[in-house]
Amino acid sequence: MTLSQIRMPVSVSSSKLIYDCLKAAGVRIVSALPETWLVHLIRMAEDDAEMTLVRLAKEEEGVGISAGAHLAGVKSAMLMQNHGFLASVNGIVSCAQLYRIPLLMLISHRGEFGERDPWQTEGGGVTEHVLHALRIPYDRLDSEEHVGRRIAKAQTLAYSASKPVALLLCRDLMWEE
């Protein structure tokens, strides 16, 4: 069975909206590690000749790639699951925060109410606490109506403050079930 044959109720319209907002924000490099909620976003990046998609082995690499891209003058974003964010913490602290790198992190927020996969249930409970502990400004994306504004405002703060910011892609936005 190929990926496209597996029926996954990930919202195409929300994914498209998020993707269009990233494009409008000038993002030209997206680093990503596949996760269910990100399948459409990753495919959109892959199919877009104006976007460079960097498929990673581990999410922390994306911090380095975004840091290099920023210093080289190119806007980027990271797509990852919250467990990928947890796996990236050292890079976020000792590369992006230490060197004042604007980082736009889009984190699929697995493990909240409605989560059926037992293995996802720990990460959801700690993600926001870790963001707080790292003093990373963040907001939740849980409705299409505020996606555009929040992505634009998050990127604005990332650049004005020269620091990582995060947007949590939540179940109500990403999962149609």
Binding site: V63, A67, G68, L71, L98
Partner: protein, 191 residues
């Protein structure tokens, strides 16, 4: 071969490159030879220098990027070798100085001291051009070949486990960061 001598041997070539190094001895030694605004020293985040180099290389294909990595750092980001291989930036030379130890924290042996072969690992990850060098002449020649080849190359340079007495230099981290960014921005504006 001493690492500082290896960097000295290719130093003239670095003037037209964008250089990203790892922390500690590599950064201090390159600065002792002579800092340039096109050199960036990632003074923490072990493992991510090669990822930063990839980010620069993909963003600015017209620039020649050189990463000075180390065995301890590359061992922390072996997956990054597969990412380098997958995107194969033609404008990136990845030098790994392998002294088989974590010198700056007391010289504890890394896995390359007990048989792990970073050249074979890089080749196995899919990097087409890989080489191990053990002498200054070999290093100088392989670096020149990599520049001429115009292709992603990983050079594993076996070096002595010796380094400077200290690692803190006069160049502050943020000063280096903004200077490096401005260097690439100004290149852009000249085009």
């Amino acid at each position: 071969m001493r690492r500082v001598d290896a960097m000295q041997a290719v130093y003239p070539d670095l003037e037209r490159c964008v250089v990203v190094t790892i922390m500690g001895a590599v950064a201090a030694e390159l600065q002792s030879i002579g800092h340039r605004p096109n050199f960036f020293y990632l003074q923490h985040a072990m493992g991510l220098a090669s990822s930063m180099g990839l980010g620069v290389a993909l963003s600015r294909p017209e620039l020649q990027v050189v990463v000075f990595d180390g065995d301890g750092s590359v061992l922390m980001n072996l997956g990054g070798l597969t990412t380098l291989a997958r995107y194969r930036p033609r404008n990136l030379i990845h030098v790994v100085f392998d002294n088989e130890s974590l010198l700056s924290v007391g010289g504890f042996p890394t896995a390359t001291a007990t048989g792990s072969d970073l050249t074979a690992i890089a080749a196995g990850a899919g990097i087409q051009r890989t080489v191990t060098v053990r002498t200054l002449d070999e290093f100088r020649a392989s670096f020149a070949e990599a520049l001429a080849a115009n292709d992603l190359t990983t050079i594993v340079a076996k070096v002595e486990a010796v380094g400077p007495s200290g690692y803190v230099t006069d160049l502050s981290l943020l000063e280096n960061r903004y200077q490096f960014q401005r260097y690439m921005k100004n290149l852009h504006n000249k085009e």
